[in-house]
């Protein structure tokens, strides 16, 4: 299965701290994408990293990809209460895992 599995399942931090969540997958990929889902809403695309890239930045987001370990990480720096959401990785197939639920406390 190419399903990405997010870890941890839940994460609670204080505002201003950094949040790191991980994604592991099993087969080769063309790209890996991270999505965010606010409570009761649809998923929103955050960032795409291609298989030949190792790191990518977008604002306060930093994504790394290690194809040798079949893993990716999403780092949110200087977190805000508005970052409270679930985060999903997607490895190019139409399969989404359960996500990481992030709570940022004000």
């Amino acid at each position: 299965s190419q399903q990405g599995e997010e870890d941890p399942q839940a994460l609670s931090i204080q505002e201003g701290e950094n949040a790191t969540m991980n994604c592991s997958y099993k087969t080769s990929i063309n790209n890996l994408q991270w999505y965010r889902q606010n409570s009761g809403r649809g998923l929103v695309h955050l960032i795409l990293i291609r298989s030949n890239e190792r790191e990518k930045h977008s604002g306060r987001l930093r994504v790394t990809l290690d194809t040798s370990k079949k893993s990716s990480s999403l780092l949110i720096t200087a977190s805000r209460a508005a970052d409270t959401a679930s985060y999903f990785c997607n490895t190019g197939k139409l399969i989404f895992g359960q996500g990481t639920t992030l709570q940022v406390k004000p």
Partner: protein, 114 residues
Amino acid sequence: IAGITQAPTSQILAAGRRMTLRCTQDMRHNAMYWYRQDLGLGLRLIHYSNTAGTTGKGEVPDGYSVSRANTDDFPLTLASAVPSQTSVYFCASSEGTGGTDTQYFGPGTRLTVL
């Protein structure tokens, strides 16, 4: 720019009734998808369409049907609803097919089958 719209926002339905969830996109995307999201199970693909006139089955297609008469619309029909179909349903679209393209999601339809 609306992106993807879904209707209704929520619905309570008696078991055995027929129900169609509507999905419309204005991005001229080729591919469209229907997912259901249940607590603890993530999103599961129900049906998909790579282009107008074609559809395919996803992970959990039983009890659901779809049609793709044109590029913009992708309705999902429950012919005879059952309580296990209580869920939140999301429609999505992408420019390309195969799942590697970025998907754009609608706001969801919360369906309760009693």
